[in-house]
Amino acid sequence: MTTIRKFCCNDLLRFSSVNLDHLTETFNMSFYMTYLARWPDYFHVAEAPGNRIMGYIMGKVEGQGESWHGHVTAVSVAPEYRRQQLAKKLMNLLEDISDKIDKAFFVDLFVRASNVPAIKMYEKLGYVIYRRVLRYYSGEEDGLDMRKALSRDVEKKSVIPLKRPITPDELEYD
């Protein structure tokens, strides 16, 4: 029993139960608002009865040619609402928009190489580790670039894993 709707500015003032989690980054305002101003369809919040915020997802769509893709920037669920597949629901929503509205080829995301529970969850959702990005997080920890192909990528070319790890300056997008 969840209401998923587009995220709006006022939600920023109500999401501390989600963001106090140490793995959830609280970005600066221009970051959130740039996402809202540019990709409002990729920013959703889930609410429980009584208007409690359960979690949210933010993302964007970018790239050229066959690398036109949806990107998950953050997905986070408050401790109280974990273990009920909310993240999956939010991810499916973003994938759907990337697939049907923006006709993207794939969806990708970055995850800390040490965040095993998250990696496992993404794998369950159909993501594969496409490549490793060396020292992606604050120049220290490696990141994993995970991808899931969408219907437009019929041959699933976008998710064939790269053989070698790359460095952050080789990344196509920020």
Partner: protein
């Protein structure tokens, strides 16, 4: 050369791109020195080229040289105005614009663009630049005019929408009347007739314009027409349609629409409520405005059903049938929607008077057996419990307990269910009715349950929340309840020990940290509380919604340095956002997300009017005055920055106070302090049914904030005027003809004093009488109530004012009383009584509040009075020679005054000495002595009182088994040390005392210096 040509030939602002690129690269990588060198040499090559000048100005501004940057910019602007042959492209202007914006001179940028648009008409790029300037200035009418010009020039849909948004902004955030919406509608209609619409967002705006005018039928027609296909996601279109239908009053059609949505998204709770609301015709959630800020569930409890029983029954049957269908389709799925929908139907029936409580309770038990293991179970069913009587709730709980006993589920789910049952006990208020001993054993039970289930988390990743974490949280609520009831500090310390253990086991449980933060505050160990607060990594927008957990305590503490950091970080965040918000609004315009434009502007206004923002600005001014009060030269610098206190007066002007917003997220606060104003633990124990969110507290807090702001906003100005009144009075004594300036100050001071006491609830005459009575011992100090600080402040200001005022301040018959004496007496009484109350216990839980009053007494009224004395000395000393020469009647009054001053200095000195003596004793306590004292609270020698939980914790440690728990949990448990925690607590208390001692010592020094000079 036009900028288009410039781009084509690799030119930028009139020079080759390759020459400019390295400068921008250097700026981007913050190598400003290098950038400046390059820009200067470029300027020698291209003297008087505005773009080169703009670049140099930009760099200088970044290097922290605003004056130089400003003068170059102005020079460039001048040049552009004078010399028509000069290049005037967007690149040059936008670079100048950046600098002007950073120099807070948006107006200059706007006038420059305005001029450019006039000189080079029909240049779209420049017009967009101008539009952007108006967005930055929130000049909606000008925005609209510029957008229309652009629209007329190129006929593009987006510019029309820019104009329409600007109109909507005039209506929702500006001065524009709703009539303007008709104009917006007309513009859109005309455009649609000739060009149609092509962007989904354009359609959304069009519909919202119609909606704002309550033209729901028209909106529905548009939506169902060809344009409707612009909304690609079917559910989104249906939601919009349902909303419009409901608003238009066509409940039947709206219900069908919502039903369609539910078939696609059976878990959408909000949609289900709308569906039911439309079906039963009692949905009021559309009534206000359609903005997201107003989202709330229909408060059905106080609603009178409008449809007949027959109709109700038939509709509710339809709803039940529909929910059954959804349930069958969703069976096996984890979707809770249909199950909860069924509960909601039963609730509605009861509200209508046709329900059956047994059925609701059975449904709740069923819901429990399916979803009772979820952490959110209790919050899910909260609304359904409200309808039951206390006995029915107890009955329900019993049934749930029975059902959980009969189920065979895995250990994790079983633990989840057990936790939900415990939470239910809290929720329905049973826990608060238990006897002390029962409560205590319940807490022990929870700890044991936590211990027994720890092995379940053995293989979890350290990042994941562990099973049973809620148990310690619940136990902490019980223990604090026990502390409140019994006043035994031991319970408080047990809670601290327990949560510290929990955090040793897993470092990042934020709910533990929040509780600890408040407990350490209460124990007078604010530095430790602050440390936990910082470990939560509160930043950016969380500073607005979460800082209330620590800021109020910090404002009353002697931790001025930390307070300063806290205020600075917060204000920086807010100021940065308010500065950059308009740029983000323009970004929304550019990306054609028009609905975000309105949202961003409204959000900016919401933050701008934040009560916390006003408080922080005000308090940081006051803090600066407090910090520098012992050095008259530095204090004058502060006065200058604060515009002699007028800035603070403006801060809390009437209009702002009326439109204050409260953005604090109160939900995460502990039960005993539901708002920053209310703290049950400071009041005597009272039976509470259910001390959770309380709307009265919220209102009480909001009123208190407004009052407090009004009082505090007068303070800086009154401090300033006090010093001026003193200086003027000396001058007057010396120069017999008096000073004009002095009487202006004196008049203003009088009106502020009147305002000040009005907030305290009396007239000036009455207030003076109260002061005299308390000072003379005819009324007890307690007569001043909770506004003690304000009263003593008032006495100080009154005395300062009386020096320069020619009016009689004292009532008839009491003219002989010296106001100096009144101030001394009040300070002495209030300060010494607090020292006495706190006594040798130092920072005991109860003492923390008195300590904060003491800190304020010394930090504010005492400081202001010392400042008055310093001004007196400074104003009289350099003129010493003159004074001697002048002779005459002034001499006798001066000598009376000098005597009063001398007395006051001596009195103040001896008052602070008392505090210093007491503080020294506190500060000199040894660690070991204090730690032993703290730990002694945890051991009880009888069967009653605290100690059992502590024992349970020790059992947890002693029985921990590495094999069973895994290395990580085992290590965490073993690193727990009660002695270390006690030591940490003491050190926190100690830091409070030593910081306070420093403040007092500094005051002593000042007084010593004054003594020397008298």
């Amino acid at each position: 050369m036009s900028s288009a040509l410039a781009g084509k030939f690799g030119y930028a602002g009139g020079m080759p791109e390759r020459k400019v690129r390295p400068i921008w690269d250097a700026i981007d990588s913050r190598q400003y020195k290098n950038a400046l060198k390059l820009a200067s040499s470029l300027l020698t090559k291209y003297p008087n080229l505005p773009y080169a000048m703009a670049l140099k100005a930009l760099i200088l501004e970044r290097m922290g040289k605003p004056e130089e940057a400003s003068s170059i910019c102005l020079e460039a602007k001048e040049l552009l105005h004078k010399n028509v042959t000069l290049l005037m492209d967007d690149l040059t202007l936008s670079t100048l614009q950046i600098v002007f914006q950073r120099l807070d001179r948006l107006d200059l940028a706007t006038s420059l663009y305005d001029y450019a648009c006039g000189r080079i008409p029909n240049n779209l790029e420049l017009m967009m630049g101008l539009f952007n300037c108006y967005v930055r200035e929130y000049a909606y009418v000008k925005q609209q005019q510029t957008a229309i010009k652009m629209y007329k020039l190129v006929g593009e849909e987006r510019f029309l929408l820019w104009a329409v948004c600007s109109i909507q902004l005039q209506v929702s955030c500006g001065q524009g009347g709703e009539k303007l919406l008709g104009l917006a509608e007309g513009l859109l209609k005309k455009h649609i007739a000739s060009h149609s619409l092509h962007e989904p967002e354009a359609l959304i705006v069009y519909i919202s314009v119609l909606e704002q005018q309550a033209k729901y039928g028209d909106a529905l027609e548009v939506l169902s027409g060809k344009l409707g296909s612009l909304i690609l996601i079917e559910v989104d279109r249906l939601r919009l349609q349902g909303r419009l239908l409901a608003q238009s009053g066509d409940n039947a059609a709206a219900a069908i629409t919502f039903q369609k949505i539910l078939e696609m998204c059976p878990d959408d709770w909000e949609c289900f409520l709308h569906y039911l609301g439309c079906l039963l015709e009692d949905d009021q959630s559309w009534c206000n405005d359609a903005t997201r800020a107003q989202r709330c569930l229909p408060e059905s409890l106080d609603k009178i059903p409008r449809i007949t029983d027959d109709l109700f029954n038939s509709h509710i049957q339809d709803a039940s049938a529909f929910v059954r269908k959804l349930e069958t389709e969703a069976s096996g799925d984890s979707k809770r929607g249909p199950s909860l929908a069924y509960l909601e139907i039963e609730r509605r029936k009861l509200l209508h008077g046709v329900g059956d409580k047994e059925r609701l309770m059975d449904a709740l038990v069923q819901y429990f057996s399916r979803f009772g293991y979820l952490a959110c179970f209790c919050s899910d069913v909260e609304v359904f419990l409200d309808i039951l009587t206390p006995d029915e709730k107890i009955n329900l709980l019993e049934k749930m307990k029975e059902s959980s006993g009969s189920m065979s589920i895995g250990p994790t789910k079983s633990l989840g269910q057990a936790i939900s049952l415990q939470k239910m006990q809290f929720q329905i208020g049973i826990t608060y009715k238990l006897h002390d001993a029962e409560l205590e054993s319940l807490a022990v039970k929870m700890i044991n349950m936590y211990r027994e289930n720890l092995p379940l988390s053995k293989d979890l990743d350290p990042q994941e929340s562990m099973h049973g974490e809620d148990l310690l949280y619940m136990a902490s609520n019980i223990l604090v309840q026990l502390y409140w009831r019994t006043g035994s500090t031991g319970y408080l310390l047990e809670t601290v020990m327990m949560l510290e253990l929990g955090l040793n086991i897993r470092r990042s449980v934020s709910q533990y940290k929040i509780i600890l933060l408040h407990l350490y505050s209460h124990l007078g160990a604010l530095p430790v509380a602050y440390e936990w607060y910082r470990s939560l990594d509160v930043k950016n927008i969380l500073l607005e919604s979460f800082t209330h957990q620590i800021l109020p305590q910090m404002l009353l503490s002697p931790l001025w340095e930390d307070l300063n950091d806290l205020l600075k970080d917060y204000l920086k965040f807010m100021d940065d956002h308010l500065r950059e918000s308009a740029d983000l609004t323009f970004l929304a315009y550019r990306h054609r997300n028009y609905s975000k434009v309105i949202e961003f502007v409204q959000f900016k206004e919401r933050l701008q009017h934040s009560n916390q923002y006003v408080i922080a600005r005000l308090e940081s001014s006051i803090l600066r005055l407090k910090e520098k009060a012992d050095n008259i030269e530095e204090e004058e610098g502060v006065f200058e920055c604060l515009k002699c206190g007028t800035q603070a007066l403006e801060l809390a002007s009437g209009t702002l106070c009326d439109s204050l917003t409260f953005n604090e997220e109160l939900q995460l606060r502990p039960w005993w302090t539901p708002t920053p104003k209310k703290n049950y633990l400071l009041d005597p124990f009272e039976e509470l049914d259910h001390p959770t969110d309380n709307l009265d507290h919220r209102k009480e807090w909001e009123t208190n904030v407004r009052e407090k702001l009004e009082k505090r906003s007068l303070l800086p100005r009154m401090v300033y005027l006090s010093t001026q009144c003193v200086s003027a009075s000396i001058k007057e004594n010396i120069e017999a003809n008096g000073s004009e300036c002095g009487s202006i100050f004196s008049l203003e001071m009088k009106s502020l004093l009147e305002r000040y006491v009005k907030i305290l609830g009396c007239s000036l005459d009455e207030a003076v009488k109260v002061l005299l009575d308390v000072a003379e011992g005819q009324r007890p100090l307690e007569a001043l109530g909770t506004d003690l600080i304000e009263w003593v402040n008032f006495a100080v200001f009154l005395n300062a004012w009386s020096l320069s005022s020619h009016e009689t301040v004292l009532p008839m018959g009491e003219e002989s009383i010296s106001l100096w004496h009144v101030v001394n007496s009040l300070l002495q009484k209030s300060i010494e009584s607090k020292v006495r109350i706190i006594g040798p216990q130092g920072c005991s839980p109860g003492g923390a509040r008195d300590l904060s009053v003491l800190v304020q007494l010394i930090g504010e009224p005492m400081a202001w009075h010392c400042l008055v004395l310093q001004y007196f000395i400074r104003s009289s000393l350099p003129c010493g020679k003159k004074k001697k020469k002048s002779g005459g009647p002034a001499d006798s009054s001066t000598s009376v005054l000098s005597q009063s001053i001398r007395d006051s200095v001596l009195s103040l000195y001896s008052i602070i000495e008392v505090v210093v003596e007491w503080l020294k004793k506190e500060v000199n306590k040894t660690d070991d002595e204090a730690v032993d004292h703290l730990l002694s609270f945890l051991v009880s020698d009888s069967n009653e009182g605290p100690g059992k939980v502590y024992q349970a914790l020790k059992d947890l440690i002693s029985t921990a088994d590495e094999g069973e728990l895994g290395d990580r949990i085992f290590k965490g448990i073993n690193s727990w040390s009660p002695t270390d925690i006690a030591r940490k607590t003491f050190k926190g208390q100690h830091k409070m005392m030593s910081n306070f001692l420093q403040i007092c010592n500094s005051k002593l020094k000042v007084l010593e210096a004054i003594k020397q000079q008298i």
